[in-house]
Symmetry: C2
Subunit: 215 residues, 2 copies
Amino acid sequence: MLISDLVEQSGLPLARIKFYLREGLLSPGQATSATRATYDESHLGRLRLIHALTSVVGLPLSRTRKVLEVLDDPRISVVKSLGQAIAALAPDPASGSGDGYPRARAAIEFLGPGYTPTLPALAQLDQALEAVNRGGFPATEERLRVYGLHLWAIAQMELEGMPQGDRTQAIEYAVLGTALYEPVLTAVRRLAHQCLAAGQFPPEPVGPDGPGSGR
Amino acid sequence: MLISDLVEQSGLPLARIKFYLREGLLSPGQATSATRATYDESHLGRLRLIHALTSVVGLPLSRTRKVLEVLDDPRISVVKSLGQAIAALAPDPASGSGDGYPRARAAIEFLGPGYTPTLPALAQLDQALEAVNRGGFPATEERLRVYGLHLWAIAQMELEGMPQGDRTQAIEYAVLGTALYEPVLTAVRRLAHQCLAAGQFPPEPVGPDGPGSGR
């Protein structure tokens, strides 16, 4: 396909696609003349991924590039790629207090079987636990146990959906799935809180006349 | 206690505490002379909450103020307060496409019993689902079902820990619990992903010699 087909099928403006080509995020097409090149499905898939990482997930270009580099390096194993891509997605990828992540290591015991002290998610967990401690709201064993149990079940379902065989597709699925679904998870949890609270206190149902009536 | 005791017990600098007093986020102490005032446990608790919302959760002062206003208004029921506080915590509190949140309403059917179309979490869910659609990675019924089931169990455990009786404490627990624990939840999920992926692919355990060995 021509670059005009990429525009049409991706829904992205031509200038944006040319920018990604110039920045090397999107690999060049097959040149058919001095001014023409053809592209294929892989370009379209890559465009979708770049768009998701930058516009939907909101990663800066530098971190998008890092995720793509990990994805493209065949010398990196799938598991390492996953780990490194997750690290690039982290709120603060430069983090790493280097103190051995004692909070996260202590928490792992309560999260349950299957959990091992694996970086970089261990560093993220440690950071998150430090924040709840600072907020005067440390995690109880019970909370960790329940989180560990139910998030393991969620992660299991998610991993089962991972495309087998194709390395790029597998990592793309994992990276996008991790990043895109976090807001879904937190929104569902907030919804559950609200529904449960409404059950404990006088109910305030949303009327059939529209969402505004529940405000 | 004197303001110097607030400094000592909260760990916050004097200038910061004076700033919160000036901004009206912290209510004035009981004046004992023209230049002295005494404070009590409620001031200390409020300081902890302000600090958690601004420094740990990272809310701007304007939204911190909004959360506190909701908390302080006795005319607002606990459930409404919860909802409004959750709205103030939202990534984009101004959101609300006003289109009736069709994606979230459709998803609720699969999330399971107990879930009702309750604002503002419904709006957040709709936004999150719109993002996964834009990312080319729409939620399957299976994913929604598993999320709904397990996040309900998590939310139930969390609500059970909510202090009963004291309105302010209850809402404080809910607001801080919602905001502070989201990064813990997402970190545990990422850790579960990594551990499960390591089980599916050649394992890369972290050695006992420190966290760096797993990189």
